[in-house]
Symmetry: C2
Subunit: 265 residues, 2 copies
């Protein structure tokens, strides 16, 4: 009904309909592909002024029917990436930034050049006993205690992530005296210990936000968020910082450059 007609390249209509997109693929599949392409373009900053082309232009550029384009835009709206208003058109809600997984960096460091990170310190205190599984990860006895931090991190005035951190007692106490509202914990750790951090093991989960997290991050209940576990070590290999971080997935993507090379021994 509203399906585009395949046109040979250079046909007088000027519409380029890639053959792969108008075959027997069902509309949901094409909509997913269109959404993927647009998500990629949004993250890459292709829509400099924030305005997406209209449905008809998108359909022509991407070789998809109006219905598939509309379905794709619904998916992206549900993800919180775009907003659609009659008379205004379709706009990117917020830039989506890539946070590199190639190198260990604090959030403010990683966002240098993108915007200003500020931290709302919700909790910063010594604890006399660590939770058993956290103590195991930090390779200390629970009774050694430590420092507990919870910070809600803002980028350009909107919540970006909720960071929960346990630090070992020896390095944590110095960090408590630092500028937790203005600085990355990594930088504070390096300043107070006088040593560079070494490495970190990171595990990334995708989860839906519980209502409490959603309220703090100002996103809808059950929106998708990243949940990161990160265990950071000093350069001598000793673990000192066990973090659990929830990141708004509408504002940030994670990026990496991978090399083929050989399997690590």
């Amino acid at each position: 009904m509203n399906e585009p007609v395949d046109a040979s390249p250079g046909s007088s209509s000027g519409r380029r309909i890639p053959a792969g997109w108008v075959s027997s693929q069902p509309r949901a599949e094409r909509a997913r592909q269109v959404a993927d392409v647009l998500r990629y373009q949004i993250t890459a900053g292709k829509f400099a002024d924030g305005a997406l082309p209209d449905e008809r232009s998108l359909g022509e550029q991407l070789g998809a029917s109006r219905n598939a384009v509309r379905e794709a835009l619904d998916l992206l709206r549900f993800e919180g990436l775009i907003i659609r208003r009659r008379g205004v058109g379709t706009r990117v809600v917020l830039p989506k930034y890539g946070h590199g997984l190639d190198r260990l960096a604090g959030l403010a460091e990683a966002m240098t050049g993108y915007g200003e990170i500020t931290n709302q310190v919700r909790s910063a205190r010594r604890v006399t006993e660590l939770p058993v599984p956290i103590a195991e990860r930090l390779e200390v006895d629970p009774s050694a205690g430590g420092v507990y931090l919870e910070r809600l991190r803002w980028l350009d005035g909107l919540p970006l992530s909720l960071d929960t951190t346990y630090l070992t007692a020896d390095v944590g106490c110095g960090v408590l005296d630092g500028d937790l509202a203005g600085r990355d914990v990594f930088t504070l750790l390096e300043e107070t210990t006088g040593h560079l951090l070494g490495s970190a093991e990171v595990t990334v989960h995708a989860v839906t936000a519980d209502p409490d997290t959603a309220a703090l991050l100002q996103i809808p209940d059950h929106a998708a968020v990243f949940a990161l576990e990160r265990l950071t070590r000093l350069s001598d290999g000793r673990p000192v910082d066990a973090e659990s971080i929830r990141i708004r997935a509408d504002r940030m993507a994670l990026t990496a450059t991978l090399h083929r090379g050989h399997v690590q021994p």
Copy 2:
């Protein structure tokens, strides 16, 4: 009402209640922390026989109230990680595997030792014209055409990911003749070109599954999934493989070891 009482280490009750967990933190916050610890333990394979301790034991081990533990278990059930049945207790639904982001590897390669990957080939065909944004990423003219693959990938008899791939025409045609049901595209690419792949740029998004994806992956509508964009290059740097992959986030986490080092130039 049902809040645990702080106990000094070694108290005769034998209950270890970490001080940091029973302070003024609201229950939702403690529930989130308990869920994080259990998710970490599930992913690390700590519950070898799949059975979690009962609520009371978890509360004691993690220093949280029964209500906070129950709320945490509800979060993990919503994520699809655990199942709770009266008389049976709480069990891990499926093992959750870590897929390393340290090295470029196909799924079957990465899952070696975990289980068997099989591929349901939904689409495998030449296309005479590439979608414009895909052609841009592959650095070819749209009219150069290419090969389109869509595969639903199964791990041990359950869907794990939905992979949509565009290959450049020169390398793609050889891959079409390969064993797409049994092999990774990476391996097929290396066999048909006679060269190792070089590197890939990966962008990871967390999104909620659209109904069509959810049905294919056999997960609830709007469950969180990873959406990966991956552009893979031959060892000479030429991009040949533009993929869009949706991965069930209840079955897989992404892992990386990051090093502090210096900022890449």
